[in-house]
């Protein structure tokens, strides 16, 4: 499903040029659950942003479902992204002014789903995440674990083929963290491809495969399953 070859990304600041990704190559198959690990600053988030079509690589190739997307402009990337990819962030990134229901509803609005169908699908996913009873609450009124479940609900409401999760348990305690990992595992078992960045070996064990990075390069790959 995803195949990157010699992917490069540079950041230029006034004085220095940082090489965030250095000729990185790997492949993730449909239905896989991959974990990416590595020390802080090695380029994990940068990679995820490119895989998520939020950012453009400076070199190399990125095949998404067999289509070359490196060099796509912002509009085309956005089009592809909103139908195919869901995101889960470490800091949840829920919108404070919107209720749980409205937060989850957003991706459906942007893909042009009709209101009646939106309601049905949001309810279904909230039900599945067991936060239906909180649908009228606002993010500040929820615990961290609940907030992350809302974020996951939001990521999957559009039935994306790929979910990208950047340290989804980073801000959670271990029991809440495990809940979120169980959710991701369930989704993966239902067929969604998942790529997750994590610092936790514990969380990484939920995946099929761990890609380890250092200074923008792949170091090793451990297949767990």
């Amino acid at each position: 499903m995803i195949k990157i070859t010699n992917l490069e990304k540079y950041y230029k600041t006034e004085e220095v040029q940082t090489i965030a990704l250095n000729k990185l190559s790997f492949e993730v198959k449909q239905g896989e659950f991959a974990a990416i690990m590595g020390p802080s600053g090695c380029g994990k988030s940068t990679l995820l942003n490119i895989l998520g079509l939020l950012d453009d690589p400076d070199g190399g190739s990125y095949l998404f479902n067999g289509i070359e997307v490196a060099g796509y402009n912002e509009r085309k990337r956005a089009q592809l992204r909103k139908h195919n990819i869901g995101f889960v962030f470490q800091s949840f990134n829920l919108i404070d002014e919107l209720s749980v229901f409205e937060n989850v509803e957003l991706p459906l609005i942007y893909t042009g789903v009709k209101p009646a169908e939106r309601k049905e699908r949001v309810h279904a996913v909230l039900e599945k995440m067991q936060i239906m009873h909180r649908r009228k609450h606002f993010p500040q009124q929820l615990s961290g674990g609940q907030q992350q479940r809302v974020a996951v609900a939001r990521a999957v409401v559009n039935n994306p083929k790929l979910i990208l999760a950047d340290e989804p348990t980073g801000n959670l305690d271990s029991s809440n963290g495990n809940e979120v990992m169980d959710l991701l595992t369930e989704l993966n078992e239902a067929g969604t491809t998942i790529i997750m960045v994590t610092h936790s070996e514990h969380d990484a064990k939920f995946s099929h495969r761990i890609i380890r990075m250092l200074d923008g390069q792949k170091v090793t790959e451990n297949v767990l399953v």
Binding site: N49, G52, L54, D55, R75, A78, R81, K82, H83, F87, F89, S91, N93, L94, I95, D96, E97, L106, P107, Y110, T111, Q140, R154
Partner: protein, 810 residues
């Protein structure tokens, strides 16, 4: 302690240059506008205040209804002043003016005349009455003798090139010789004497000494003893009727008694108006100088007040918006033990600093803008830099505005609860957003109101300009003061008519441009009684009048100068017809006269009826008018048949110089003269435009800042939305509509207000526009477009930003 507050305030202002700039600029512009308006209003309210004992000086006015005529006059009869002086103990002093309008003057050794626009006879008590000094000459003797005059510095310099001219002589209208007995400083522009330059001794005005209570030609001022009770004084004034006026009237109308006088519905009422009220409150047609209206003072106060208020609202809005970013700072300060009061003082220090900086900039702006403003308002205002009180007032206002605009933000910010802010949850936005929203609604409401006002004023002016007046004022050149040509006038007219560019020319002192003219009573031959009096203006014209001004005959014929019978002919307008209750055909041939009491009255027979035309301002209805064929040489109207005005004017002027050497050649186009009579409206229009633009600018500055802060505060949200698939246009739309909703609400609220108040303004005009949906929708579209432009820059910028950056920045 205070130094510490100021230091910290400085730092935090410097940390936010964009915010500080917008706040200071908005406040400075508001203050500058407010300052100019305040100075204007101060001048208007203190008109004529500079004269000694101004608070004890009153003018005697006369309301008369007699012989069918109804007159409200600013003037009194010649014996009034003397009578008051001798009969009334509380009258300390009196002075009369008998104004003469413009006159030609030249020093005896020169041949060219200079036209002095405002000249008057005045009693010798003039100086004492108003506490005036002479630069040269003696106030005790200056205006005692006939044929003496006192002139202002400017006039003296114009005529003689010096102020040391006592004893020199001047020729008035090429006839009378006057001796200069005094030179005084120019009179203050904001006084009723501001236009006057030549004061001639009343002794030379024979009629001023006659005991006639009939005519009212003398502006009569009295100075009353301190603490005079005005109700008592009024009672005494009422007594004059019985004591002097009726006895005098009996001589002319034998058998008339107080009862029979009153029974026929007649009255003569004398009353007083304080000198200092004349400028704003008098609505007499025949004032000595140009007056203002209290209405304009109100309108301008309103505009000035809102201008400053808008700027303060900006400050409040931006500061509270900005405060969200400072919530963390406040949280930390509070945790470290700072109490609420200290925080409030800190924030007020900041607003005080901004207010202070704004005021300094405002004074600079006002100073630069002053000449333009004076031009606009038709005044002569200066900033009183030498007045210590000015600085005290400025300082007080600055502190007040600083406190006012800082109070709300300080209150909001100091209320932050540390636990909430440190947790980074921010405030529950909704409640604060509501007050901020209300302020934005208010700002744009005012802007919409002012836009409606501007449009209505201009549409009304446009309407006036384009209204069919019933005569053709285009391409009509009017030469003034043609009486100066004397015997040469006919030759001059003939020469002018010989020019190929001239179609026709007419001689008359009566031109259809607004001026103060009065009615006379006429009577139909068949109804020779006071109660059937017809009020009609008497215009003396020649047989070229109708065709030169394209007046339309609807019945009968024009004058014929060859016909001797036409010397007693009259042409009336439709209004007269209506008063007579006749049809145009019925009216032809009827005879009318003024001389109802005479044995053998002189009758005029109606030979024609013309369509009504607007000879007065459109504020007035068209009154009855009669044209009589009489020689009247005040001015000559020339109808041109060319657009090359410059060359035809040059030709006419060269004829004038040849035929009438040494006399000034004064001309105007009739449509220009017409324009002048709407000067006050035009001023109001320009003032509206300028201050409306300013208030819109201030409101937009605020909106721009607010949009910037809004985008900044929502940067994370925007990032999230983009990640979830929102397009740039969706985000721009979302950010923009938030504000547009407010502007739309403001528009909906403000339009009815604008409609209501501008209709009140329009009521002053007999002929006026309807405020239609065009004005309403145009105002709405204009303000909403401006708001869109203002907000969309920030919105688009925020929407285009890369979401990764915004999501990283937490």
């Amino acid at each position: 302690m205070i130094r510490n507050y100021i230091k910290i305030a400085f730092r935090s202002l410097k940390k936010q240059p964009f915010f500080t700039l917008i706040n200071t600029l908005g406040l400075a512009i508001g203050m500058a506008g407010g300052l100019l308006i305040a100075l204007y209003i101060y001048e208007e309210l203190n008109h004529d205040n500079m004269f000694a004992d101004a608070d004890r000086i009153y003018r005697i006015e006369t309301d008369i209804k007699f012989g069918g005529a109804e007159i409200k006059s600013a003037e009194a009869a010649p014996p009034m002043a003397g009578t008051l002086q001798t009969d009334f103990a509380e009258v300390e002093n009196t002075v009369r003016f008998r104004t003469l309008g413009s006159n030609l003057l030249r020093s005896s050794d020169k041949t060219a005349n200079i036209k002095e626009l405002s000249t008057t006879y005045v009693d010798s008590t003039f100086f004492n009455m108003f506490g005036l000094e002479l630069i040269n000459g003696n106030t005790e003797t200056a205006l005692k003798e006939t044929n003496t005059l006192v002139m202002t510095r400017t006039a003296a310099e114009n005529h003689f090139g010096s102020v040391d001219v006592v004893g020199k002589s001047l020729l008035l209208n090429n006839k009378e010789t006057y001796m200069v007995t005094g030179v005084m400083e120019d009179l203050p522009k904001n006084s009723f004497l501001g236009d006057y330059s030549i004061f001639m001794a009343m002794a030379g005005n024979v009629a001023s000494r006659e005991n006639i209570w009939g005519g009212n030609n003398y502006y009569t001022f009295v100075k009353l003893a301190p603490e005079t009770r005005m109700d008592n004084f009024q009672l005494q004034l009422d007594g004059l009727l019985e004591k002097y006026v009726l006895p005098w009237a009996k001589k002319t109308f034998p058998g008339m008694t107080a009862d029979s006088f009153a029974a026929s519905g007649n009255y003569i009422k004398f009353h007083t108006i304080p000198l200092t009220d004349i400028h704003l409150y008098s609505d007499n047609q025949n004032e000595m100088g140009e007056t203002g209206t209290i209405q304009n003072v109100y309108i301008l106060s309103f505009i000035g007040f809102f201008l400053i208020f808008l700027a303060c609202v900006n400050f409040m809005n931006l500061s509270t918006a900005h405060s969200l970013k400072r919530s963390k700072e406040v949280g930390i300060r509070k945790t470290l033990g700072s109490n609420r009061l200290q925080l409030i003082v800190q924030f007020l220090t900041e607003s005080g600093l901004v207010a202070f900086a704004s005021m300094i900039i405002a004074i600079v702006i006002a100073f630069i803008a002053l000449p333009f403003f004076n031009d606009l308002a038709g005044r002569n205002i200066s900033i009183p830099f030498t007045e210590p009180l000015f600085y005290v007032a400025i300082l007080l206002i600055t502190i007040l505005l600083g406190l006012f605009s800082g109070s709300y933000p300080a209150f909001v910010i100091s209320r932050f609860i540390p636990v909430d802010t440190l947790k980074g949850n921010g405030m529950k936005n909704s409640s604060k957003w509501n007050i901020r929203s209300m302020l934005v609604v208010f700002q744009f409401g005012v802007a919409v109101f002012l836009i409606v006002g501007t449009l209505v004023v201009f549409q009304q002016l446009e309407f006036i300009q384009n209204k069919d007046l019933g005569f053709d004022k285009e391409q009509v050149l009017v030469i003034n003061d043609t009486y100066a040509a004397g015997k040469q006038l006919n030759v001059f007219k003939q020469d002018v008519l010989n020019l190929s560019a001239v179609k026709s020319a007419t001689l008359s002192s009566f031109m259809p441009t607004p001026s103060s003219r009065s009615n006379s009573s006429y009577f139909r031959e068949s109804a020779m009684d006071q109660e059937y009096a017809i009020q009609m203006q008497t215009w003396e014209v020649d047989d070229d009048y109708l065709n030169t001004l394209s007046l339309e005959l609807i019945a009968g014929r024009d004058f014929n100068s060859q016909s001797a019978a036409d010397s007693t002919a009259v042409i009336i307008n439709e209004s007269t017809l209506a008063t007579l209750g006749l049809s145009a055909e019925e009216a032809l041939g009827i005879r009318i006269t003024e001389e109802v009491e005479r044995e053998n009255p002189e009758f005029y027979h109606v030979i024609g009826v013309i369509k009504d035309f607007h000879y007065e301002s459109l504020r007035e209805n068209i009154g009855s008018l009669g044209l009589f064929m009489k020689r009247s040489t005040g001015s000559m109207a020339i109808k041109l048949k060319t657009d090359d005005f410059a060359s035809v004017i040059a030709s006419i002027e060269s004829i004038w110089i040849k035929r009438v050497p040494g006399q000034p050649f004064n001309y105007r186009f009739m449509d220009d003269a017409f324009e002048t009579s709407y000067k006050e409206e035009r001023r109001l229009g320009s003032i509206f435009i300028v201050f409306t633009s300013l208030s819109i600018f201030i409101a937009c500055l605020g909106l721009f800042g607010l949009a910037a802060f809004n985008a900044q505060n929502r940067i994370k949200e925007i990032g999230v939305r983009k990640v979830l698939g929102a397009s740039v246009s969706q985000i721009t739309y979302g950010l923009t509509t938030d504000f547009l909703k407010l502007v739309a609400i403001a528009t909906i609220i403000a339009l009815p207000f604008g409609w209501y108040f501008m209709n009140i303004w329009l009521e002053d005009f007999s002929y006026r526009i309807q405020i239609g949906w065009e004005i309403m929708s145009f105002s709405a579209i204009l303000v909403i477009s401006i708001a869109i432009i203002t907000v969309s820059y920030q919105s688009i910028k925020a929407a285009l930003a890369n979401p990764i950056k915004s999501l990283r920045t937490e």
